[in-house]
Amino acid sequence: MADAAHALAGESPPELQHHFVDLEAQKEASSLGMWVFLVTEILFFGGMFTAYVVYRASYRAAFEGASNLLDIRLGAFNTAVLILSSLTMALAVWAASQGKKNRIVVFLSATILLGAVFLGVKVIEYSQKFEHHEVPGPHFVVPHGLPRQAEMFFSLYFCMTGLHALHMVVGIGLLSWLIARARRGDFTTRYNTPVEMVGLYWHFVDIVWIFLFPLLYLLGRHTL
């Protein structure tokens, strides 16, 4: 309706880029573009998941034993934190669609906080791995009773969780940018596309962790 009012007045809304017919077409283009980007991200992580499948199939005992050296409580806690952050992100997108400035800021801040908690726990986990000489490289010590290919498990563990954590850091940067824009009053019921697009990205990062958690932390627990 707001679009129609602008059209009647002979002007286009300020958020509308000149090459789009209307805000709806602009939003659909943004949404499709974001999803196509996420498709490339799925295949990017897919390469590492493939490497994981191949090496896990080849060195089953080493992978199961090394997996059991990860802290399942910290992993499960982080899974819960990330799911909660997805909820607050969804609520931020909802608040943006209602044009409620203060709520957008509150929910985005909560999402950042939860993301920071996740990364903090990751720091604890990584430092434990360094202390126990379970980081691949010259100081790696093969854990007692495990085949030496345990090092391969930890290589994949650090690559996959490291890249995931990097995505979280980027996400926190994007969320901070959104908060600044929300404070400025950029997002209204008519235009809130950036919040929705960053939301898609954040949920995607959550989905990656949903697969990483069972594949890295849980695969060998039944052998205990």
């Binding site: 077409a25 999803w35 498709v39 819960a80 909802w94 939301g199 949903i210």
Partner: protein, 103 residues
């Protein structure tokens, strides 16, 4: 292109429902990992993970309320990922079947 009601959004109740379900499924997957299910431990864990991913994509990411074109993009990702994994694995896991080089 606008198609099937791209303006509809999930209700707040749906968001909280998905959140509670995701938490319950996380607890379930941790519990299931400690059970002795033979070859079924990994399929069970992956089924739970796929269910959780679908819930996030369909509700949190509004995929259920998005235009068909978006669904096609997602389907393309799944298809190419399947090609990547299936063809790679069909090579690696069958190498030992033949008594030739490349071990």
């Amino acid at each position: 292109m606008s198609g099937n009601g791209s303006h509809r959004h999930p209700t707040l109740g749906a968001y909280f429902g998905v959140f509670v379900t995701l938490m319950a499924l996380t607890a379930l997957t941790v519990w299931a990992a400690f059970q002795h299910l033979g070859i079924w431990n990994t399929p069970v864990a992956l089924s739970i993970a796929v269910t959780k991913a679908l819930l996030v994509a369909l509700i949190f990411m509004h995929l259920r309320y998005s235009p068909r074109l978006t669904a096609i993009a997602v389907a393309a990702a799944v298809a190419w990922l399947a090609i990547l994994i299936v063809i790679t694995v069909s090579d690696y896991l069958t190498r030992a079947w033949l008594p030739i080089y490349a071990r």
